[in-house]
């Protein structure tokens, strides 16, 4: 053997020495085959002495036989079969692990008996999705919530019995109590009663973790874009395999719901990073779109839907990604590159050239967008056409195509499925047209989201009139200057009161901070209530306007009022 010395770490030399140590061969080093007297680098003056010596030895039959016997002891016979065998064993163990885990925690038994599940706080978007999933799977499902809501009404219409308020009596005939993280004074009695009755109970996220174990799960999270990315991924899966299940924290028009129960092996699920329990979820593919300081309590006392610090959120995100077989992350976010460090199978997507799945030649237009999707080993990229607008949607589409590729789906079909994607509910959702003005509703409440949405809105060429409803006191206290700066992209801003989402008000924190900041920035801004905003817009709307309601609260009611006026006019 003449090892090739230029190879990494001179590994061929060590390979060869191992063979020589066995007595199965002889090593002749390349450096010993050069005439040392030859100083000119172009000089070819080989010294074959060592090679001749080694070769000569093997001309002897006995020496050859000995070497051959020694080699035979290390024969890799059946290596390919052994690899297959190991892989099969590995996969079988993995399935077994999942089975055992479920059996231990009792959910497996529950599955056999099709037990009665009671969801406490069923009106929340995450809870209602799970309730629908288990109802579709044949379980008896009931629930209760603090107040009536659209979601509660919709669940009732689907045949799920729901009580308003919390009471121990709700637990008659119940096998499992499913609750959210939040336990307050109003539901404490019911939870205590469940304990006394010896009821088995699971947190929402624990139940979701069981679903993740039962299916090949794709868990999609991040500060922004997780609902849309989940929706796009679901659209791709539904296009190629209608049996894939879906859980999403928004309304997906294609299925007219936030959940789809399928019998197939895949589960595409949005993972809400505001619930610290998400670290329990073991995904086959974890997707992290981006990560910013949101849902961070900092010095504030509020703990529901908040992490104590950004470091805490990061630690949980680490735990979530490390549990995943494959981590798909956006390489354009430096913090996500750090997150991916040390993950045995991290794959990236993004605008950066270094991405495994590179998104290039991005074209953002008023009514549509397109980009080139470069995937590993591809000779040519795929041109992807989207009916949704804005660069953030290009990023979302890139993530969902990468998932499709990782799952072995046909990319051309996937791109085709994306072309017909119309967005998920409350994400640049076109509600209608009033006197020529386009009425749009969007969930944006974080400065990054407000900026992305308004940039896309500006590209339509219309006069953008934004109705901004700040969401939560803590977020407003932390981000009001950035929120104002992002909102100033609009041509006119109507600022409403903060939507508290059950948080206690914080002294000195109000919409006035944002209004003042916008004035300083020279923006056309006014302060309004829900009603006065609608009235003002009805009286001043022009054909070239784009009226957009922004916020995670009930700001959408403004667009509803405007469009209701349209129907009144039609009726009169």
């Amino acid at each position: 053997m003449l090892p090739l010395a230029a190879q990494a770490d001179n590994h061929q030399l060590y390979n060869a020495k191992a063979v020589e140590a066995l007595g199965a061969g002889k090593v002749v080093e390349q450096k010993d085959c050069v005439n040392k007297d030859c100083v000119n680098k172009d000089c070819v003056n080989d010294d074959v002495t060592k090679l001749v010596e080694a070769w000569q030895g093997f001309l002897d039959q006995t020496e050859r036989e000995q070497a051959s016997q020694a080699a035979k002891t290390q024969s890799p016979a059946g290596a390919a079969d052994l690899c297959v065998h190991e892989l099969e064993n590995f996969l079988a163990t993995r399935v077994l692990d999942k089975g055992l885990k479920i059996a231990e925690e009792g959910v497996f038994k529950m599955a056999e008996a099709k037990a009665h599940l009671h969801f406490m706080g069923i009106g929340g978007i995450g809870m209602s999705a799970l309730a629908r999933w288990f109802a579709a799977d044949g379980y008896q499902v009931s629930g209760c919530d603090q107040s009536e809501s659209q979601e509660v009404a919709a669940l009732r219409a689907e045949g799920i019995e729901i009580a308003i308020g919390h009471h121990p009596a709700h637990l008659d005939s119940v096998d499992w109590l499913i609750s959210t993280m939040a336990i307050g004074p109003s539901n404490a009695a019911e939870i205590e009663a469940a304990k006394q009755k010896g009821l088995r109970s699971l947190k929402r996220i624990e139940l979701l973790a069981e679903l993740f174990n039962l299916r090949k799960s794709i868990g999609i999270t991040g500060t922004h874009g997780k609902s849309t990315t989940t929706g796009m991924t679901a659209q791709i899966f539904r296009h190629s395999d209608s049996s894939a299940s879906l859980l999403i924290g928004a309304h997906l028009p294609a299925i007219a719901s936030n959940v789809y129960y399928g019998q197939g092996e895949y589960l595409v699920a949005e993972v809400d990073e505001s619930d610290p329990g998400f670290s329990l979820l073991a995904s086959d593919i974890a997707v992290v779109t981006n990560l910013e300081a949101d849902h961070i309590a900092g010095p504030y006392q509020e703990r529901r839907n908040y992490h104590a610090s950004f470091e805490d959120l990061l630690a949980i995100m680490h735990s979530f990604s490390n549990k995943a077989e494959t981590l798909l992350y956006c390489v354009d976010w430096a913090i996500l590159k750090e997150l991916a460090q040390g993950h045995p199978h991290a794959v990236s997507y993004g605008k950066a050239a270094e991405a495994d799945y590179h998104l290039g030649e991005i074209d953002l237009r008023a009514e549509a967008s397109s980009f080139n999707f470069y995937y590993p080993l591809a000779k040519e990229p795929i041109r992807v056409e989207l009916a949704v607008i804005g660069e953030h949607n290009v990023m979302n589409a890139g993530a969902s195509l990468a998932v499709a590729h990782l799952c072995g789906l046909d990319l051309f079909q996937a791109a085709k499925a994306l072309a017909s994607f119309q967005g998920v509910g409350r994400r640049f959702e076109k509600k209608g047209v009033f006197k020529g003005a386009l009425i749009v509703d969007d969930y944006a409440h974080h400065p990054t989201e407000i900026r992305a949405t308004l940039e896309a809105a500006k590209r339509t060429g219309r006069r953008v009139r934004a109705i901004l409803q700040p969401h939560r006191y803590v977020r407003t206290a932390q981000l009001w200057p950035e929120i104002a700066e992002a909102a100033s992209l609009a041509d006119e801003i109507l600022v409403l009161d903060i939507y508290g989402s059950n948080e206690s008000p914080i002294e000195g924190i109000s919409s006035a901070l944002i209004v003042d900041k916008l004035k300083k920035l020279g923006a056309e801004v006014s302060y309004h209530s829900l009603d006065s905003a609608a009235a003002y817009l009805l009286s001043s709307v022009k054909a070239n306007d784009l009226v957009i309601t922004l916020g995670a609260g009930d700001v959408w009611k403004v667009s509803q009022t405007i469009l209701a006026a349209k129907f009144e006019e039609l009726g009169s």
Partner: protein, 165 residues
Amino acid sequence: MIKVTHLKALDHLKLSEAKAQAAKQVPMPIREARIDKALARERLGLPLNALITFVMGGSQGSVFLNRLVPKAYQVLQAEAGNKVRHQSKDQLKHIVYHSSGKVWEVGLKEYLSQDSSYADYRVEGYVDSVLAWSAADIAITRAGMSTIPALSRCTPDHVTLSSSS
């Protein structure tokens, strides 16, 4: 995913401690088939009654072997010639079957054709590795990761067959 146990490899792959402990070592999968030596030589047009050295350079590594091995062969043949005269004992013909890489094939053939001492030195651009390994008594190779296991698949019957015939 093929698991590995070599510590440096684990470090390189950045596997977690738990995953490293669960790792299993498997041999390198290669083309394992070996056929009867006589049949392999017949297919390759090589005589049964000869000693055959198979030279395989690999992709990057072929240039150096293409230059060095013919020179060594020449020295070896000269020494064998001396022995025959001194010991006057029958010796097997020593044939070299050399896989040079396609780009070097023509040049090397041309170079060797200028010297009669290379009459039994055969050059091919590419070879069928199953046939070549089956036919060979001795191999001169590099030491890359697929060469080593291929080498270990040479069984003693190859050697015995060639010497007894």
